[in-house]
C-alpha cells in the first residue's frame, strides 16, 4: 500500500469522507503515451480517492484530454497503466459519467436531446425510450436547466446547449465518478457557476468523485480539493493552494512559451 501515506492529508481536508484505506477511484501509474515521435505523456502517476474533486490544469496540448482517454480505456498507453475503482480502464462504464471535450458526434444523425440523455441510462441507442427513462432524462435535463431542449434535434443546438445535454447525460446514470473534459467551455457565465453548483450538490448527495479538466485556474482553486498540473509530465499534484503557486505554474506553462501566468482572484459567486 504505497499510496496510503499520500491519502492521509485528503482525509483531513474532506471531512465527509470516511477514513480512506481503500482502493483509489483513479489510479494512474507511470503512464507514457507517444503519438509517432511525439511523447505526449511521460511517466504520469497519481491516485485520486473517493469523494475528491480533482481539477486537471495545463496548457493547450499538454495531454490532458489524452490522460482522460487513457483513464477511460479509450487509449492504451505504451507504458504504465490506469485503473478506475481498481479495475482496468474501460471495465466499469456504468460507474462513470463522462463529458467529452469535443462533441464529435455525427451531425447528420437523427437524434434528439432526450435520446442522448437516455444513452446515459441504458448504454446503447434507444429505439424508443421507456416512460421511466424519459422521466429520468427529463429530471437530468432539468438539473442542468435544459428541460426545454428535450425534443430538440441535437444537431441544431448551440454549443452551450449541447454542453448541458452532455452534462445531463453524464449525471443521469448517477455515476460514482464524474469525468469532465472542459465542461465550462461554451456555457455562459451563469451556467458556469450553475455547473459547479450542480457538481458540488451532486457530490454532497452521492459522495461521488469528480475529475475535471479546466483552463480556469480560479475555478480550480476555488472548487477543487486536488489539483493536477500537467504538461506532458506531472508538474504538481496536491492541494490547490500548494500546487497552484506561481512558481509551479510558471514552470508548467513556461514550457510551451506561455509567459503570462493568469493569477486571478476573481470572485466566483456561490449560491
Amino acid at each position: 500500500m504505497s499510496r496510503a501515506a499520500r491519502t492521509d492529508e485528503g482525509a483531513v481536508r474532506v471531512a465527509t469522507v470516511a477514513p480512506q484505506r481503500r482502493v483509489p477511484v483513479v489510479h494512474v501509474h507511470n503512464v507514457g503515451v507517444r503519438f509517432g515521435d511525439a511523447q505526449i505523456l511521460d511517466d504520469v502517476s497519481f491516485d485520486l480517492d473517493e469523494g475528491q474533486f480533482l481539477a486537471i490544469v495545463g496548457p493547450n496540448g499538454a495531454g490532458k484530454s489524452t490522460l482522460v482517454k487513457v483513464a477511460l480505456g479509450l487509449l492504451r498507453p505504451q507504458r504504465g497503466h490506469a485503473a478506475l475503482f481498481g479495475r482496468d480502464a474501460g471495465d466499469v462504464p456504468e460507474r462513470i459519467g463522462y463529458v467529452p471535450q469535443l462533441k464529435t458526434f455525427d451531425r447528420t444523425f437523427p437524434a434528439t436531446a432526450v435520446e442522448l440523455v437516455v444513452t446515459g441510462l441504458r448504454r446503447s441507442w434507444p429505439a424508443r425510450p421507456s416512460r421511466r427513462e424519459r422521466e429520468q432524462a427529463h429530471a437530468a435535463l432539468a438539473q442542468v436547466g435544459a428541460e426545454a431542449l428535450v425534443d430538440r434535434p441535437l444537431a441544431r443546438l448551440s454549443g452551450g446547449e449541447l454542453q448541458r445535454v452532455y452534462l445531463a447525460r453524464a449525471v443521469a446514470r448517477e455515476p460514482a465518478f464524474v469525468l469532465l473534459d472542459e465542461p465550462a467551455t461554451g456555457v455562459d457565465y451563469l451556467a458556469e457557476h450553475d455547473l459547479y453548483d450542480l457538481l458540488e450538490r451532486y457530490q454532497a448527495r452521492t459522495g461521488a468523485t469528480v475529475a475535471m479538466v479546466t483552463h480556469d485556474l480560479a475555478a480550480a482553486r476555488y472548487h477543487a480539493s486536488r489539483v493536477l498540473v500537467l504538461n506532458r509530465r506531472v508538474f504538481g499534484f496536491g492541494l490547490p493552494d500548494d500546487v497552484l503557486c506561481d512558481a509551479c505554474l510558471q514552470e508548467a506553462y513556461g514550457h510551451v512559451g506561455h509567459t503570462h501566468v493568469p493569477h486571478t482572484h476573481r470572485h466566483v459567486p456561490r449560491r
Partner: protein, 287 residues
C-alpha cells in the same frame, strides 16, 4: 380494371410468388443495413461489395463448370453463390481491415477491392465456354433477374435474411450508438471496432445474395435510396429504420408488379419506383 385482375392473377404464378418472397426478404435486410450504410457514409461500400459478388460469381461458375459439378450434385450445390458469398465476405472483412490498419479512407480501400473483383470476375467468366449452361447469365447478374429466382436461391436468401435481420435488430442499439459517436459508445462499453467488422461482413453477405436478384449495377442504389428517403422524413434513428423498411418493401413489391404488368426490366422498375419516393421525400422535406 383488367390491370388489377392481371396483377392478382400474376401473383398466383409460382415464379411471381418466389419473386415477391425474395424481394420482401431482400428489401427488409437491405433497408436495415442501409440505414447504417447511409449514416456512416458508406454508400460506395454497396457498389464495392456488389462487384465483389460479381467476382465471386465468376470464380464460382468457373469452378462448377471445370470441376464437372454441373453433371452431378443437387441444384443447391451447383449454385455459384456458394463461392460468391464467402468471396464477398472476405472482401468485406478485407476492406474493414484496411480501414482499421491504415490511414486510407474507406473509398480508397473499397476502390481497390472493387477493381480487383471485377477483373477476377471478367477473367473467370471469359474462361467458361458459352454453351456451358451454368444457370447464371452475366446480363442477369449485372441487371438483376428477380422474376427468375429459383427455389435454391430463395432458400439461400431466406437463410441469410433470418441471420442478418436477427443480428441487425439485436445489435441495433449498439450499432446506432457507435454510428452516432464511435468514441462515446466505446466509453460505454460498446465494442465498436468489432461491430464495424461485423457490419462489413454482414453487408458483404447480404449484398452478395441480394445482388444476384437486384443486379450488381443497381445494388448500391437499392441499398441506399430507401434509407436516404427515410432519413429526410425521420426525426429519430428508430423512425428512420422503420420507414426505410416500409419504403424498401413497398417499392420492391411495386417494382415487381410494374415489371410484370408493363414488361419492364425488374431492377429498373424497382429503382425508378424508389427514386420517385426519394424525390417526393426531397420535395416534402421539413425544414
Amino acid at each position: 380494371m383488367s390491370g388489377l385482375e392481371d396483377l392478382i392473377q400474376a401473383f398466383g404464378f409460382p415464379f411471381m410468388q418466389r419473386a415477391a418472397a425474395a424481394g420482401t426478404m431482400i428489401a427488409v435486410m437491405c433497408a436495415l443495413l442501409g440505414v447504417f450504410v447511409v449514416q456512416r457514409r458508406l454508400s460506395f461500400l454497396g457498389d464495392g461489395l456488389a462487384h465483389a459478388a460479381f467476382g465471386g460469381m465468376g470464380i464460382g461458375a468457373f469452378v462448377i463448370v471445370s470441376s464437372g459439378a454441373l453433371a452431378q450434385g443437387g441444384a443447391l450445390l451447383r449454385n455459384p453463390l456458394w463461392i460468391a458469398v464467402p468471396f464477398a465476405l472476405l472482401t468485406g472483412l478485407g476492406i474493414a481491415w484496411v480501414r482499421d490498419r491504415t490511414e486510407l479512407s474507406s473509398d480508397t480501400a473499397i476502390g481497390v477491392f472493387f477493381a480487383v473483383s471485377v477483373a477476377l470476375g471478367v477473367l473467370f467468366f471469359s474462361r467458361i465456354s458459352p454453351d456451358a449452361n451454368i444457370g447464371v447469365n452475366v446480363m442477369d447478374l449485372l441487371f438483376g433477374s428477380i422474376l427468375a429466382v429459383r427455389t435454391t436461391e430463395l432458400a439461400i436468401i431466406a437463410a441469410v435474411a433470418v441471420v442478418a435481420t436477427t443480428l441487425l435488430l439485436t445489435l441495433w442499439g449498439r450499432l446506432a450508438y457507435a454510428t452516432f459517436d464511435d468514441e462515446l459508445a466505446r466509453t460505454d462499453g460498446v465494442r465498436s471496432r468489432a461491430l464495424e467488422y461485423l457490419l462489413f461482413g454482414l453487408a458483404a453477405v447480404v449484398i452478395a445474395v441480394s445482388a444476384t436478384v437486384v443486379g450488381i449495377i443497381l445494388m448500391a442504389a437499392y441499398l441506399v435510396i430507401p434509407a436516404a428517403a427515410a432519413r429526410i422524413w425521420a426525426r429519430s434513428m428508430a423512425s428512420m429504420t422503420l420507414l426505410a423498411v416500409v419504403i424498401g418493401v413497398s417499392t420492391t413489391l411495386a417494382g415487381v408488379a410494374l415489371s410484370y404488368l408493363f414488361d419492364l426490366p425488374t431492377g429498373s422498375a424497382i429503382i425508378l419506383t424508389q427514386a420517385l419516393v426519394f424525390v417526393a421525400a426531397a420535395f416534402t422535406q421539413r425544414r
